[in-house]
Symmetry: C2
Subunit: 158 residues, 2 copies
DNA sequence: CCGAGATATTTCAAGCATAAAATTTCTGGC
DNA sequence: GCCAGAAATTTTATGCTTGAAATATCTCGG
């Protein structure tokens, strides 16, 4: 046999293209994240991790446990502790002890935190619209669907 | 006038979809990055930033200036200093003073660094092929092209 | 020449990130 | 009731990240 079977050749060439896709995805997210970081700092004196935490809490007015927060954000539990500490110090977030389980504490946005987040979120949505404005609406939909599928597959297996 | 013009309505609905796309992109890269980080640590006792630096240097056997390195990787100049420091300490990278300009130093992979990187890169490519394997080859090509266009647009404007 | 700005790099302070260890509290079988 | 293990959280050590300040060197008009 002189050449590999077609399926193997296909797989190999596909590998290279997946690698290129990954590099481009990483570059795109880095560009956008860098821009968002800069603007959050400039306009709100805040950061992306703080925005992420507040965004998660905004969706859950009853509050969340630290563990749920770290799982949702895909970051380590120890990491969340520090970010929440600083948000508490700023008065945007409150920790509430619970009746039943003394290990856990429910974390939620304060009214000040909610108001502040709503301002940031509005700007954030405008920025994303601007930064991703070069991608056509049909492409956006297609791409989004693809990534949603990826996530479903991933979570199905893990 | 009771309702906004069509173009405005279109823009608004597109904004929401772009926001959703951004969130999904961020989640995807976080999942993949987390997996890569874990495997780099497990199999090579290394990290993603170190891999990125070595990858950049591998493409330039003549070496790179610190500034070019940080620009290429889209990270701050101060950041590169620390990563390179540790790579130098491990013997994978060397700083060479230059004749002409005493401010600059050319950074390049050592033979040990080259050999080590080639092992990592092979594993890295397999991992990406595995992790992004759920996305069909045609989709990969399409998606990749889209992101390439995004980057071209971005760099054209900045 | 020579000094004002430009350029390359490092240093610094603060915050983000992980994994692993330590602490505290809960739960279920005995 | 007790206690072994599980679970929620914080602490710790180390490394990554940024923006800004500090240092050193270069360039070039006068």
């Amino acid at each position: 046999m002189v050449s590999a079977p077609l399926s193997v050749i296909d797989a190999r060439s596909g590998d290279k293209e997946r690698l290129r896709l990954w590099i481009r995805m990483l570059r795109t997210t880095r560009i956008v994240e860098g821009e968002l970081r800069e603007r959050l700092k400039r306009d709100f004196d805040s950061t992306l991790p703080r925005f992420d935490v507040m965004s998660a809490l905004y969706r859950e007015p009853e509050g969340m446990l630290m563990t749920d927060l770290s799982r949702f954000l895909l970051v380590s539990n120890g990491n969340v502790t520090g970010i929440v500490d600083r948000l508490v110090a700023d008065g945007y977030v409150a920790r509430a002890k619970r009746e039943g389980d003394k290990r856990t504490s429910v974390v939620r946005l304060t009214p000040a935190g909610t108001a502040f987040f709503e301002k940031m979120a509005a700007a954030h949505e405008r920025w994303i619209a601007e930064l991703l404005g070069g991608i056509g609406t049909a492409e956006v939909r297609r791409l989004s669907e693809m990534l949603h599928l990826f996530r479903s597959n991933w979570e199905g297996e893990h």
